[in-house]
């Protein structure tokens, strides 16, 4: 706990551009994972809990590999059954809009819909 702030402030207020949280890249990742893991999956109320958790972990791991340096990642995966009901999901963030961002992708088939959202919050 000591030692990090010995030499005054070493904050990086803005992330390096290469490490910036790029929503398009993240969305692509999410999209790939969702399509890969959910194609042909039927909604099963017993399994979606595990499935959504594994999806979230998978996405998180993949995003970590992408290399968003100094980013805290939050991945939320929601899987619901498609029965014709209307669904509305929204998110609101209190963050620094310059650095923080989010990406989300939706996967849908006949029996289920899946919304995966990844929020990246920069750690200064």
């Amino acid at each position: 706990m000591e030692g990090t702030d010995t030499g005054g402030n070493t904050y990086l207020i803005r992330p390096n551009y290469h490490h910036k949280f790029k929503a398009a890249v993240v969305k692509e990742c999410i999209h790939d994972i969702l399509r890969e893991q959910l194609s042909g999956v039927q909604y099963d109320p017993d399994e979606v809990g595990v499935l959504s958790r594994s999806l979230a972990d998978c996405i998180k791991d993949k995003l970590k590999d992408v290399g968003f340096d100094r980013y805290k990642l939050v991945v939320q995966v929601v899987i619901g059954e498609q029965r014709g009901e209307g669904v509305k999901m929204a998110a609101r963030c209190f963050w620094d809009a310059d650095t923080d961002s989010y990406a989300q992708d939706i996967f849908m088939n006949d029996s289920l819909f899946c919304v995966a959202a990844a929020f990246g919050s920069y750690f200064y």
Partner: protein, 1072 residues
């Protein structure tokens, strides 16, 4: 005294006693001395000694039983007692077991000897031991104080972590040491405590003696504490010092060990020589005991107290025990104090121990207050050594003690058993007493060392005052709190760091609420979609696919191809360059020239051409017929070369008198005939109307146009150019016009018989529209005024100019009524016809394009009447109006006075005001006809109602010639020049005689006078084309019955001769 305490006390008592013997503290000597005294006494009183010697077996047996009982009770009291007690019991039992009953006596003996030996030897140790024990006390006190201080420091916020750690280390070390002490040298601890307690009790009991010692100790303590304070302030050095101290201790330990070894060796030797030394020891003991008599005496009070308690116990006691006790009391009154004292000590120590179990914190605090830290290591080492010693000694001396203190033990155990019932109250008292003593001591210490006590003693007191369990818990919790506090500290530090970080960062960045991201918006599916999704494709399958490749649409809509055969040749042969099968040979000429013109022009051409064609065709036929007729009728009319009759036998023309026949000046083949309304009714409903027929003389079979007007038409004329307009003056004073170009469909078509007749109503009428500027009486004459020929005399060519046709209508119309009012109208052609009619031009027929605008009015008669006779003017009537063909500004008006007035439209003055007959004076003679020569000569003929005919030149008032009797008195109806010969004119009189004059041949009478008998001729018109000089010139005669005959003049009347104009010029020259 509590029995359990006693039990435990007894366990420890032997060892304590032994140690006391060994170490030989001042007060400890009491017991040994008393024992020695006992021995002495025993020696003295052989009985007792014998008994003692007899007794051992019995006593040992009893003792064993007791022990067994005690064990049982001990076991029973186990829960209450500490494990250590049990341990001691067991060990004691073990030791007892090891030792056989037979050996006991020997052992006792040897122990007794040992005791003697020890007594001598222990004298040396005693002081050192006491010192060491004092030191130990001090050390413990210091240690505890130290610990307490550490705790206090912990509680204080200003303590540093290093200190804590150090303290922790130290406390750990202490704890370990304590543990060691407790586990390995649990007995020793207890002994120490019991010693301490005993000492305290002794202090309490024999305060005076102890006070000195205590004083010393306190001084020492104070000194040490002061040192410690310094040390604690400079705690860093302390560990070093500790090390040094340890080293020192090690040395001491070594020495101690050596001593121990030596001591053991000695001990062994002594054992071997126990028998021999027995007596020596007794002597030694007496000396020593005597030395301590004073001290032991002081314990008497305590003993009394014990005795009192013992007496209490006696009541319940068993017989043998009672006896024994009494015996003991009686037998060894002096031993009591020590015994009691020791019992007391043990009890108090056990009390304390119990107390300690319960009030550990308190005791530790007491210890803290007392224990010096410095000598600790040394003490430990020494304690350790002492443990060994003790063990050895215990083993060695246990039996001796047992044998010696058998009675005591028995009584004590008895007492203990009895006292067990009173334990609660007794213990309470004891506890209170101890606490009181501790308080006193603490206060003393506090008052003596206010400096130290300020911090260190308050806390112990406080905690002591407070309830023990709580303090225990708090102490226990304090340790846990330390870890938790550490955690808390860490977390606090982390939190503060993060807070600092956040405050620094928040200055640099600004957080904001993002807009609400819509992650998913899935609208609900309506029922139909759901149904279709689920069932929409059920029961259907795809069988075929229609690509629609073979379903090409080949419908093509095209216009029908117009096909016509054409031929062409270049250069053109016979003026025909091209043609086709449909084109007739007649139209070939036109087609050549009009190939390039547009369809509208073609249509107009075809209309006119078809007319021409029709005329030609009819002309051919009519010519053949008329030639035959002419031949048949040739003899009837001498001048006639042929005759053509127009077909006036039409149903609506039947019975109508023709009042006027007139040819167009330009289109000479066009003729109009005015049919007056018939008097008798006919089948057709046009009776009351005047019908004007437009004829083409080459098409005699039927009239081209039929014009209808409501009332009687007085006069009529064509438009000056092409015969497209017809003007008429009516008897009601209106001027009307017809536009012959209007399409037939715009007019009313009447079907009569098999033919359709288009009845054209006037295009424009001044009826009731221009009444104010119109005529108030019937219009006697209308005449077109050619504007183009307004200036000077001109040849007639301009009239024939082709451009007039296209340039539109621009001429004036003059109308004259009977009252001499001459109106001039401007004929206007509107650029566009309006089928809906016009609001402003109320006289205009809907769809009509030509209208009249009133230009000016000339009063011809009033001017003249003012100039002339007023009486005559009243009678004057204007009957005819003619314009000078060469100059339209000059007009000539025939009157009823035989005069022709000459006027100008712009007020110009022309030399002759009027033309009068040769006869002077006015006669009421109507001028019936005025006709100008068509060859441009300024001469005109005037026919009068009295039958006279005059030839005037415009320049002269007088006539050139006047023929008064040519008609035999019959009024002249019409006088007209022939169109082809300038010297020939025709005169028609009312008696149907037609007179033809040829001035070249005869200038006094007509050359031909012909009587038309068949029907009365009412109108006559001469036709022919002077410019073309064709042969078809003639005269048209309209009869009363409505017939129209066309008489072709013979060649002699039509072929012009060169002398004709000369003759006229001569005549004119003659006149001037």
């Amino acid at each position: 005294m509590p029995t359990d305490k006693k039990i435990t006390k007894e366990d420890t008592w032997k060892s304590d006693d032994l140690r006391r013997h060994i170490r030989g503290g001042g007060h400890d000597e009491d017991s040994s001395s008393s024992r020695r005294r006992d021995d002495e006494r025993r020696h003295r009183t052989g009985e007792s000694v014998e008994r003692r010697h007899r007794d051992p077996e019995r006593e040992a047996r009893r003792e064993r039983e007791k022990n067994r009982e005690r064990d049982g009770t001990g076991e029973r009291t186990k829960p209450r007692d500490a494990d250590k007690d049990r341990h001691q019991d067991r060990r004691k039992d073990g030791s007892r077991d090891r030792m056989g009953e037979k050996e006991e006596r020997d052992k006792e003996r040897s122990r007794a000897q040992d005791r003697v030996i020890k007594g001598t030897e222990n004298v040396k140790y005693r002081n050192g031991d006491r010192d060491s024990r004092d030191k130990m006390h001090d050390r413990e006190e210091k240690e505890n104080r130290d610990r307490e201080r550490v705790k206090a420091r912990e509680r204080d916020t200003e303590r540093t972590r290093e200190r804590e750690r150090d303290a922790l280390r130290k406390s750990d070390r202490d704890k370990e040491k304590e543990k060691n002490k407790e586990s390995e040298t649990g007995e020793r601890d207890r002994e120490r405590k019991s010693d301490r307690d005993r000492k305290r009790n002794e202090e309490r009991a024999e305060g005076g003696r102890d006070r000195d010692r205590e004083h010393d100790r306190e001084k020492r303590d104070r000194r040490k504490e002061r040192e410690y304070l310094k040390e604690s302030e400079g705690y860093k050095d302390r560990s070093q010092k500790d090390k040094e101290r340890k080293e020192r201790h090690m040395d001491k330990e070594h020495s101690g060990q050596k001593e121990e070894r030596e001591y053991r060796e000695q001990h062994r030797k002594e054992k071997e020589e126990k028998e021999r030394r027995h007596k020596e020891r007794a002597q030694h003991n007496t000396g020593e005991s005597r030395r301590h008599d004073g001290e032991s005496r002081e314990v008497e009070s305590e003993r009394v107290h014990r005795e009192r308690k013992g007496s209490d116990r006696e009541r319940e006691g068993k017989r043998d025990k009672h006896r024994e006790r009494r015996h003991r009391e009686e037998a060894i009154p002096e031993r009591d104090p020590t015994e009691r004292n020791s019992a007391k000590k043990s009890s108090s120590s056990s009390d304390l121990r119990v107390h300690k179990d319960k009030t550990e914190p308190v005791k530790t605090k007491v210890e803290i207050a007392e224990a010096p830290a410095e000598d600790r290591g040394y003490d430990e080492a020494q304690d350790y050594e002492e443990d060994f010693e003790k063990m050895d000694y215990e083993e060695d001396f246990e039996d001796v003690d047992d044998s010696e203190g058998e009675d005591e033990k028995q009584t004590r155990s008895h007492e203990e058993r009895e006292a067990r019932e009173e334990i609660s109250s007794q213990r309470r008292e004891e506890i209170e007493a101890i606490q009181r003593a501790m308080d006193e001591e603490n206060e003393r210490v506090g008052s003596a060392q206010p400096r130290l006590s300020t911090e260190e003693d308050d806390r112990p007191k406080r905690s002591r005052d407070s309830e023990t369990p709580q303090s225990k818990v708090s102490q226990h919790g304090r340790f846990m709190d330390f870890v938790a506090a550490k955690h808390r500290e860490v977390s606090k530090k982390v939190a503060s760091k993060q807070k600092k970080r956040s405050t620094e960062l928040l200055r640099l960045i600004d957080l904001d609420y993002s807009i609400t991201f819509s992650l998913l918006d899935l609208p609900p599916v309506n029922e139909y979609d759901m149904y279709i999704k689920n069932f929409g494709t059920t029961n259907t399958k795809q069988a075929y696919v229609q690509c629609n490749e073979d379903n090409t649409d080949r419908d093509i809509q095209t216009e029908e191809i117009e096909m016509s055969e054409k031929w062409t040749q270049h250069p053109a042969e016979r003026n025909v360059g091209c043609g086709g099968p449909k084109l007739s040979h007649e139209a070939s000429d036109e087609s050549v020239t009009k190939l390039s013109i547009d369809s509208q022009r073609l249509a107009t051409f075809l209309r006119s051409a078809s007319q021409v064609v029709a005329v030609l065709l009819e002309e051919d036929r009519a010519e053949k017929q008329s030639l035959k007729k002419l031949r048949t009728q040739a003899d009837t009319l001498s001048f006639s070369d042929g005759c053509l009759q127009l077909n006036t036998k039409l149903p609506f023309l039947y019975g109508r008198q023709i009042s006027l026949v007139q040819f167009s000046q330009v289109q000479r083949q066009t003729m109009l005939s005015v049919h007056n309304p018939s008097a008798k009714p006919s089948a057709v409903r046009l009776d009351s109307k005047t019908i004007i027929c437009i004829w083409n003389i080459w098409e005699p079979s039927r009239p081209q146009k039929i014009l209808v007007y409501e009332s009687e038409v007085q006069c009529c004329c064509f438009s000056p150019g092409k015969a497209t307009l017809v003007f008429a003056g009516t008897s009601v004073g209106s001027v009307v016009l017809w536009d012959l170009r209007e399409h037939a469909s715009a007019h009313y078509t009447l079907r009569i018989g098999e033919n359709d007749w288009t009845l054209r109503h006037p295009t424009f009428s001044t009826d009731a529209v221009l009444a104010a500027s119109g005529h108030m009486s019937s219009v006697s004459s209308v005449e077109a005024v050619l504007a183009t020929v307004a200036e000077g005399l001109r040849p007639e060519l301009p009239l024939l100019a082709s451009d007039e046709e296209s340039s539109g209508l621009s001429f004036q119309l003059a109308s004259l009524d009977g009252n001499g009012v001459l109106n001039l109208w401007v004929v206007l052609e509107l650029p566009k016809a309006n089928d809906a009619g016009s609001h402003t031009d109320l006289g205009l027929r809907p769809g009509g394009k030509v209208k009249l605008l009133h230009s000016s009015t000339v009063i011809t008669t009033s001017e003249r009447s003012s100039a002339r006779d007023a009486k005559k003017t009243t009678l004057l009537q204007t009957l005819l109006l003619k314009f000078l063909p060469s100059d339209s500004n000059h007009f000539f008006i025939g009157t009823n006075m035989g005069l022709v007035n000459h006027g100008t439209s712009h007020g110009l003055k022309a030399p002759p005001k009027f033309y009068r007959p040769q006869v002077v004076g006015f006669r009421p003679v109507d001028v019936t006809s005025i006709d100008f020569s068509p060859f441009g000569e300024p001469i005109f003929l005037v026919g009068c109602g009295d039958g006279s005919v005059r030839l005037h030149t415009v320049l002269s008032e007088q006539p050139l010639m006047e023929w008064t009797s040519s008609t035999a008195g019959q009024p002249v109806l019409s006088v007209q020049w022939a169109q082809t010969r300038p010297t020939v004119f025709c005169v028609l009189d009312a008696a149907s005689y037609l007179h033809i004059w040829d001035l070249l041949e005869k200038d006094f009478e007509p050359v031909i006078t012909e009587k038309i008998d068949a029907d009365r001729v009412t109108a006559m018109a001469v036709f022919g084309d002077p410019a073309k000089q064709n042969t078809y010139s003639g005269i048209s005669l309209a009869t009363q019955s409505g017939k129209i005959e066309m008489q072709y003049f013979s060649k002699r009347l039509t072929v012009p001769e060169s002398a004709d104009l000369e003759k006229l010029q001569i005549m004119m020259q003659e006149a001037f």
